[in-house]
Amino acid sequence: MTETKKYWKGLEELTAAPQFVEQSQKEFAEHVPVDKFLSDSEATESKTHRRDFLKYLGFSVTAASLAACESPVTKAIPYLNKPEEITPGVANYYASTYFDGYDFAGVVVKTREGRPIHIKGNKHSLITGGAVNARVNSSVLELYDAKRGKAPAKKSAGAWKKGMEWSTVDKEISTQLASVSAANGKIVLLTGTLMSPSSEKAIAEFAAKFPGTEHVVYDSISSSGILKANSMMFGKSAVPAYHFDKAKVIVSLGADFLAGWLNSNQYAAQYGITRKPDGEWMSKHFQFETKMSLTGSNADVRATVKPSEQGIAAAYLLKAVGGSISVPAGLSADVKKKLDKAAAELKAAKGSSLVVAGSNNSGVQLLVNAINEQLGNYGSTLDIQNALNIRKGSDSDYSALVAKMAAGSVGAIIIAGVNPVYSSPAKIGKGGDFKSALAKVKVKIYLGDRLDETGAECDYICPDNHYLESWNDYNPAKGHYNIAQPAINKLFSTRQWQESILSWSGNSTSFRDYIQNNWSSEGLVSGAAAWNEAVQHGVYVGNAAPAVVVDDKAKVATPKTDEVDAAMATVAVGSVTSADLNKFASEFKTSSSWEIELYVKAGMGDGRHALNPWLQELPDPITKVTWDNYATMHPEDVKELFDIKGEGYEGFNELYLGEKYPAKVIKISANGTEIEVPVYPLPGQARKTVSLALGYGRSITSGIAREEWSGGMYKEGALIGVNAFPLISNEFEYSNAVTITATTATYPLATTQTHHTMMGRKIVNETTLAKFHKDGDKAKEEGGYNEQELLTDTYGKKRKPEELDLWEDQGVGLGHRWGMVIDLSTCIGCGACATACQSENNIPVVGKDEVRRSREMHWIRIDRYFSSTVNKEKVTELDQLNSIAEYHTAEVPDEEPQVVFQPVMCQHCNHAPCETVCPVAATTHSQEGLNQMAYNRCIGTRYCANNCPFKVRRFNWFQYDSLNLTQYPDFNKINPAHDDLGRMVLNPDVVVRSRGVIEKCSMCVQRIQHGKLEAKKAGHAVEDGSIETACAEACPTHAIQFGDLNDTNSYVSKASKEPRSYTMLDEVGVKPNVYYQTKVRNIEA
């Protein structure tokens, strides 16, 4: 190879900003916060003398030991009449389904003593096949949100009357609805996409009771463009079923299908299957997009286009694959070159390729349909006949509704499952905003879960259940049915909205019975036994469906997709002619002005999770920023905008983000709205564009964000982030032309990208598919892609690191040796593992302020490395310099840098450096290969953290879980373990760590112990796959695999011996039990 790669986590590392270098030398960025420990401001001002202090100390030590002698009386309160299925101490699992109008996933709810504590994927679900993203597996925490609506409320004379009785509210609402109906008034039911047959039946029943009822479906993140395009082309207003698992070539025009586009849970699982380099084939993925998205960061070839250029790119691609269309001008040569290449690959893989676009413009979607049609993909990689019912919302229906509301022709509105006051653009269609239109409606009933933006504008709030308290049924695709069953009784006096609708229609049936009756009358499932089985599995597959694929292990790479109607129909282009396509294409014009792209973050979705601290603290996969949204901008653009002098890298140093280095702030104006947001310089962003995440700035986050989180930028009523929904174009396009101006303000961002850095050591490994095939078994030899670093012994002989060892071997051969294999090829960096770990291991949330001080507590972090090319000659020269500070002279960061994700948790080294330095033997090694941490022994010297080469140890700076709210006021708003309700989510098998101790990944030792015990009780060996860590279980692409390295038949023991596998810092000789597999890119060189 004539060139080599350099990996960097952020611009500051690339440029070796002095602040970064200084910071990176420290394990702990800050001094011990003594003032915080004392926290009481009076205490710091007290005039206690040394002698007094010693007296107090002596007294308190004595008092403490005496207090310890006091016998605590603990009560043991059994059930009076124990439910048969509950055994204290034994977990129960219930199949259910998550669908909030945005994310869909079959889930399994883990409950202990009747309370849900963890969510994982339901492997019986053929649609999502056990994949759940961070948003879904964190949803369990929202059940215990004390800020949910607790009882119906009514607004009278501008004030809320809370805590009403359901019967009272029902009577009043029924009367009001009846009077609207009697006066021939219009009643509108506004919901998100339902895809629930029984809910739709309930709505029909409601409409029968109140004639003149209209049901309008509105999606906060609309896919109306796709529906419209398919309606024009195939006469079917539907989202086709996509089969990424069958696509050998994938071209995405701005569709972030791994993080938020349509049913991303399903697509992530499908995509993962095609990314294994050792299979028959590996997919080749092209991405043309504005912001570096999660999907784009996984692409083999990526190019940046402005949002306005996406349509042009689609037209260009259509022409290149052989369609007849005239392409508008305006693409750069680089993009054209890559599009040509993509077209060539697509043509070579006709019938097994897939082109998708993220735009909500039906013209763009129509072009993409034409491309897929041209390539013969309909019937193989996408299927319009067996549509996916995940989005039904129509922008034009919604615009028409708002116009009618504004005209005062809507008598009553019932809003369920959506929050349009928050999530609507500033101007809808040709009319005004939703809020003022809503004010014109006489009767306004909100069936959301709390008093939020929309609730505040309504007359009644009839609080909805959490989905873990509700029954529901879903019909995601033809023949596929999912059931959502409650896993706990209702915590508050809430009622699921379907029951509210039914009760106003005069039907008092519980929704469970209603679903069962409906299923039975629809001929789906009849009889108690069949119904119970459907509920138990959470899914029901109709008669037309093929046999269920039982084996789930993606190790075998079985696609788990919608395969109900095997004979997929090929549909010819219907009424759409090439003249129509030309007409659409001619409307695409590139512009030289600033453009904004509004996107959805992997952690936040459309904003309904704003009060979920796990998701707020989950670092964004690309920017690694927590607790905020921000405008991403190309670093050169930032330099220009803020007039930063300094050649090349020197200028970037001013863009360093750190505790003492806040972000710059820009003002964005569009749609008559002006917002100020911090800027994040992001490599890989299209020039002259900014991208801003939706889902932030919820009014309900008021009071959580604190003064110091804003660096003085917040005024009264600070929120977490800024609401970007008003910037959506009035035609519901998630991009817009904007004016950008620089301001002098600054804003602190909490980014983890430079925390816990590996200091420039080579730890990620990647290669190309060509080299991977060429090297084969010789990968570890000299010149191989996975070349093992050799050490020179005293006699000048080159030796393998494992041959030179200072320590005696641990008893690694006896019994089990637990380990992991993490495939960097299939890791998409989504972060589902991090939140699953947080839920499983009771990891505290620390808040933005503490994250800024590098004190986040996540046991697993996903390192995101940008890489750029360094040329060989320079590197040889630099080897002598041996300094990261000099590296930047050697290379040019690509306009489109490549990205590698690497999940890093405790590596459970067999020769762990942390164990040897602990003065109290609090961290020790187990026979089974685990690096154990005994919290009660730890005295907090933090020597171990300093000696860990992987920087995976976390220190409890504070009592994050304290119930003492006055002592730690900073944490009580953000940490779920701070109130009695939030504590319900804690896993009772894992200790809650106290202040002053180190913690780290235990490899879910509680699950290992449980799995072993189950095997012992059953009297057989531990079966491979029967024990899974939370991260491995949550991984949608099965990139993380856990098992017994001593079991010769286990997946991990086989995979760890593959030539693609390596351990981090092999040359240090710490012998980790966590193996990584080299990332393979499907590119030529």
Binding site: N81, P88, G89, T924, Q927, V1005, H1020, A1021
Partner: protein, 427 residues
Amino acid sequence: MRKISSISSLLFLLAFTLFFASNSFAQDAKAGEKIYKANCTACHAWDKKLTGPALQGVTDRVQAGAYGDVDGWLKAWIKDNAKVRASGDAYGNQVYNANAQGAMTAFGFLSDAQLADLVAFLYVGPSKPAVDPNAAAAVATEVVEDSDSDLWMILIVIGIATLIIVIFSGVNRSMKNAANKKEGLPLEDGKSFWEATGNWIQSHKKLSSIIGFFLVLVLAKIGWDALLGIGVYQDYQPKQPIAFPHDLHAGKNEIDCKYCHSSARTSKTSGIPSANVCMNCHKAVTEGSRSGKTEIQKLYDYIGWNPDSMKYMTADGKMRNDTVIEWVKVHNLPDFVYFNHSQHVEVGKVACQKCHGEVEKMQEVKQFSELTMGWCVNCHRETEVNFAGNDYYIKIHEDAKKEFKHKKDFKFTVDKIGGLECAKCHY
């Protein structure tokens, strides 16, 4: 801490035996009582209604009808009551209807002699254990014993003795001086006891340093033990809301521990049995031998059971769910310790008594073991792994044979497979 001294229970037992030996009934009635206990008590009680009617006074109630006399009727009824009813016997059908037409089991297997015994028993009723006055007194004056008080008594005695020695030596000296003064002899110097002791030490340096050394050792040992005892609640025996006698249930009635503490087999906790488990038996057993109805009545109060009507008194006819029985937890492990009963009970086949002591002999349960980490670890060092018939251990056993083959007298104890590792119990 309350304990019945072993002597008093012995006395009680003795009295009880004597009582049984000295009382005697008609031979046939006593045999009948045995038959009664073996066959009838599942449905009948003597003085109250269970599934069947109370048997007290049955000999007066029965109208013999076609069967001639009461005895005849009773024998025929017990042998095959359906036949009696089928014959159109008025009283038989009346009883049948009065008891919700619940057909009584036919006892055709009883011989005529046995029937005669049983009927004879029905005339006299069950023998009542008249309480022996001595035994009763022994129970009433439960000898209260405090194990800690022994040590304190010794310390106090030593203290008083020391004080007496000091005082007496002073008195002795004064008396001597007074006598000497009277007799004109030279006075002893006015050294106090402490001065004298000091002088003695000065003159016996070797001996006193040895004594001092041992004194320090003893004190250190006492102090060390006291520190080790902090947080150890061995013999903790709190008073429970219901005086549940384990000795009766697990001891006398030989109910298996895991009948009530069933989750010890499946869960980390052994589980305090829920009240519905109690009701499996206590629907029928409404009073006990010690405190009669009072303690069982507490259970009924918690769950709203009416033993007379045999029904729950709640509106929905189900067990109450708005009360709690606040048992006091006897065995408290700190929260940072993970202990799993099923691992020990099911896999390790450890008897409950190993850690909990002879609960079947305790009226009120007390903490038998120290429950310290040292105690856990010791057991793990001494206990051999129970391999037999558990395929889980095949591989690890083979591995271990290789690993430890050079060791003689090798015992495959729990610690050899990581039983002493931190993360086995702390995570």
